[in-house]
Amino acid sequence: MSDDTALSRLRQLEAASAKIPVRDALAQPGRPGVSSIYIHIPFCSHKCHYCDFYSFVDSRDRQRAFTSRLIRELASLAPLAGPVQTIFVGGGTPSLLKAELWQELLASLQETYDLSPFLKGDGEFTVECNPESVSEELLGVLKSGGVNRISMGAQSFNPEHLKTLERLHNPASVPVAVELVRNAGIDRVSVDLIYAIPGQSLQDLEHDLRHALAMPIEHLSCYELTYEPNTAMTKRLGMGEFVRTPEELEIEMFELVGAMATQAGFERYEVSNYAKPGCECRHNLAYWKQDEWIAAGPSASAHIGGHRYKNVPRLESYLTGDDEGFAMIVDHEPPDPVRLVQEKLMTGLRLREGLDVDSLLENLNAANARRVRETATEFENLGQLERTEGRWKLTPSGVLLADGIAGSLLSVIA
């Protein structure tokens, strides 16, 4: 494509409010390269009832077309990236992508991105897997493509509760899959659990945690079931098929997760995430600290140069990307320094390490900064927030109230 046609195309897209962030980011000479990449693989064998990610059961065998398109998009985005520190492939169910397509995808990443940190053992390359769709073959492909971390969706070890979630796998497949991962030479494994499933007792959760922590894993994500809007789970709740877990029990469950994880040598480093020392998920920490990341694949969200946007979430629309390989985007938010402060407050307070407040509040005017500090004092007085050496951290009782505290801090910023 000549420069002229590229420019006219850009103008068209500009008019459609698409793609501006990427153009802007590209236009800044000498800007440091982005070091994190998120890749979204939308395929699933079955839609779980709690899931609100973009995913579907593909009946038209579009994996090949999707992979080609994804490779094209990644190649277009590559000029934005510097040496890559973290890659996270989520979904959907990335392990459903055929091994040969994985091979192509990984080869192209090697070709178009600077993965040198991985050679020094510095990078983190995570792929989400479903226990029943991992195979020796697939794991071999992933391993040789640089993947060094697997996030395994276990959710529960109780068949009854899995059924409530419409999560269709055999609990026994989880330890088998983890062993396969280990045998493939991938040295880090994270397991996902969901708790506060309708009908689940504290004992049931203890059972799940025992099973999860008995496996050779370094990382545990343990989420309270969230009733996301427009999910089957929320509709079923609305129709009275089951009742929500009482708040008191949810709190007990949260505390049980913390206690058992700690006993097993894990530490909570985010509201729902636990890791053995040094095994925190660096990719997710990039989200929570509002670093930059590139996003590829339908519905994937990016944060580059202060812009937030999301790729178009429909596979069909995604497949017909533009001539340059970029995807159409939706939900674009242009850079806004105040918004960034709000976002950092919101996600930073969820972290054990807390927030470096002094440097953060420098981005606000004096009146706003003062109000934020005053509001923080109220929560400090309530024993929900503590300040040490210029950092704000939530106390154990404050962690459970993180949204309310963040909301209050945000609300005083004019």
């Binding site: 997710n284 509002q290 990341w293 969200s301 709000q342 109230l401 945000l410 609300s411």
Partner: protein
Amino acid sequence: MNIRNFSIIAHIDHGKSTLADRLLQATKAVSDREAKAQLLDSMDLERERGITIKASAVTVMHEHNGERYMLNFIDTPGHVDFGYEVSRALKACEGALLIVDAAQGVEAQTVVNAYLAIEQDLEIIPVLNKIDLPGARPDEIAMEVEQVLGFAAEDCVLCSAKSGVGIPELLDEICERFPGPRQAQTPKTRALIFDAVYDDYRGVIVYCRVFDGRLKVGDKIRMMGLGRTFTITELGKYTPKPQKVKEVGTGETCYLVASIKTLGDVRVGDTITIDHDPAEEALSGYEPPRQMVFCDFYPATNSDKKGNDFEALREAMEKLSLNDASFTFQTVHSEALGFGYRCGFLGLLHMDIIQERLEREGDVEIVQTAPTVSYKVEVRGKEGATEEIEVHNPADLPDMGSIIAIKEPIAKVEVMVPKEYIGDVMKLALDRRGIFTGQTFVSDARDMLTFEIPLAELIYDFYDKLKGLTAGYGTMDYEINEYRTDRLVKVDVLINGDPVEALAVIVHKEKSEQRGRQLLVRLKKQIPRHQFEIPLQCAIGGKIIARETIKGFRKNVTAKCYGGDVTRKRKLLEKQKKGKERMKTIGTVNIPQEAFMAVLDVGDE
């Protein structure tokens, strides 16, 4: 010429307007076709609610025994909220038709209205209406009339305004039994204003009854009470179409137009005289309108902070006040609700009507606080002198230390009730600090109970409770009798330790704990949970009399927050922020606007 000035008084829906129309029709004042619509009521609202808000007077000519009679119908508001206006209208008459529904029987309002007519020394003809209804029991109801009101049962005139049965006989009775107007007592002109309405084109239209002398077009008149003068530009009578006349003589009624700009320049009950040749004394009985019930109106929406909603409300209030001089309003500012108006009304019905008219005619949405009554408070003034001040907002109550006594308005309440419910009604009345003063036999099925009940208790859901207890059959009416001292206290409400003035209430000492608890239970439902525990307390002076607690959140955290969730989550938190903007922050507690309404709202839990 023979003149008969009379009113029609009745309980709501006992057929007053229909009867009036039928009488007009029978005198050929209106055609049969015109009679289809009720003529005397002019406002939509009146027709919908089946009540007459503003009186009018209609003059028709009738022939009886070969003589001509001028019949002046003076319509009255049917509700004692307008008791003073009713009494002025009745004062303009010599007779009254007391309409009783032959199926429903004597109702509380019938009794109160009949007493008003008796007080004015009017000749009363009891009329049993709707005798053609399947459920009509004219004989029994005639006995009720005799029992309760003391008119001989055989003196009742039976009719059906709907079918016209008995109407000619009623006209005969009007001519024969009602006396003519009294002779003039002075050559100077004296006319009683018994009503006034505002007309967009002609200004105020005054309805009056000439007692002495005469009125002519071009006369410069003086309102003896207010002292204002005007020149009559038009005199006339409604027949029921307006018909201009040059002059009006002693004993007649008329309307007059005199370039009067607002209703504030005219007082019902005032006496009109001739400016250059005035009467020495006004006709007796003039009183300014007396507001008994108070509440605040605030604009319901506060969409833009420039206060445009308040402006719209102000315009609507001012426009309505041209039409109704009997409610008062003044600007108030509530910390919780912003700018609004504190309004005084003649009674509860009057309050409802004003609110409806503001919303309907002014196209504004109103948030209304719970009604309160007007208290007379005796306070120690300077150098030991005692002063009496009027307080209708608990927040305005002076320091308890300086208060000698708080007096509250006491209503004389008549309740007409089927006998099987007497016990329940007694209990209700006594529970509302009522004093039982009498029980009258009405019929085998019903009795009339009389109580004295503080108005403050009456406006607190008494009527709804009465209807509920009596399967809808109980009826009541009341008049304000007097002010009486009682052990009234101001109950303060403390939220998280801070007193909230807008929530304070004046209640009886013995009821204070119960009311306090009810109030806190409601408040608890309205205030959202916070990150911390919020104590709610009621206190008298410094003493806590009731307490509730809003538990703090123990958990308010989203499980997942990843790259794609940031925007949505931030928007959710911003939404909470927007919600908070509509709340009033007291200390560190956010209180929604609704809480100020709900806790003051009437009714038990």
